[in-house]
Amino acid sequence: MQNMDSCTYKEGPLPSCAPLAVPMLASQQSSEPAYDSADALAKGTLFPGLDLPFMDYVAAGPVENTPLAELMALDFVCQELALYLDTHPNDAEAFKTWKSFTALAKEGRKRYVEMCGPVKRSDTAKFNSWVWPEDPWPWNSGRKAEKK
């Protein structure tokens, strides 16, 4: 990995000589720079280097700020960092960031459940009755949680 220092966040290092007939793709070098959580969700990736849209189909802006969208954004950052960590298990900085976002998502989930109802079935234990089957289910839009 001779040219590591000269690669930007949109590039990754490749060896200058490489074996024939072995598939090679430049590895992402760092979990930084990164979008903030609302932008990451809207764009579909946490990482500007991987943000490669088709034609001019780009996000109009961050997803509308609702309790549900806020939780989706935190969970999305956790998912993006988890996939990154799967192929970069020794990146201590990314692991630290993942841990802090996991804590934020846990807090966000708690607030959301209190306000809007169970996300996991086990969340129903916080309620006085079996509210798990109650509408709305995710394929019905117009949930209470989607309103400001």
Partner: protein
């Protein structure tokens, strides 16, 4: 084991019925390069995969694809709820409607029921990961083609998100390939299949 979360990965809020659009978007539900194929491919390839990092990538992406299956199902549901028979006829949606009404059925845009022949589990590290990289590209192109035709901003927004996930997954499978091949015989990575041949 799987635990269900009563929410989508990304919001889908489509206001107007449009069975003409549902007719082709359903390919990403049960078509050859759709989300069901993706999920089954990755979750099934895990068992013979010898490397921990690659098992994690296949698991975490395979589970996310199930979330995408739910998003695509939601898109089709919202495009077909409250539709009238008149809209069904004008959209040329009769072939689907007569068999499934406004239910969600796993089929390709051309009407073929979901078929596992669309994907492979070869039980070979390089072959399976090369298939996965190809699969992400094919799904990306399907979403590109949907974007070329869709004219409802509510639909475009969700499709655009799903398409970008294919780009990210392609990167991760490429990195997984690099991790896997770096653990093989560097003089000849094809000397053995580490998913089958025992280490000497």
């Amino acid at each position: 084991m799987f635990v269900y979360e009563k929410k989508l990965q990304y919001p889908v809020r489509i206001k107007n019925p449009n069975p003409a659009m549902a007719k082709y978007i359903i390919s990403q539900y049960g078509g050859p390069d759709g989300e069901l194929s993706a999920s089954l491919r990755y979750l099934s390839q895990r068992y013979s995969m010898p490397y921990p990092e690659v098992k994690a990538v296949l698991t975490d992406i395979g589970v996310e694809e199930l979330g995408h299956l739910e998003m695509v199902g939601t898109i089709i549901h919202q495009l077909t709820r409250n539709m009238t028979v008149d809209q069904v006829e004008k959209a040329g949606f009769q072939d689907y409607f007569v068999d499934h009404t406004a239910g969600i059925y796993a089929q390709a845009a051309g009407g073929w029921p979901y078929n596992a022949a669309a994907f492979q589990v070869k039980g070979d590290v390089i072959a399976d990961l090369a298939e996965d990289m190809g699969a992400e590209q094919k799904a990306r192109v399907t979403y590109d083609n949907i974007l070329r035709m869709a004219d409802d901003p509510d639909v475009i927004d969700a499709i655009r998100f799903l398409r970008e996930r294919e780009v990210v997954h392609f990167q991760r499978f490429g990195e997984a390939m690099d991790i896997a091949t770096s653990k093989m015989d560097q003089r000849n990575v094809y000397a053995v299949n580490p998913a089958f041949d025992k280490k000497k």
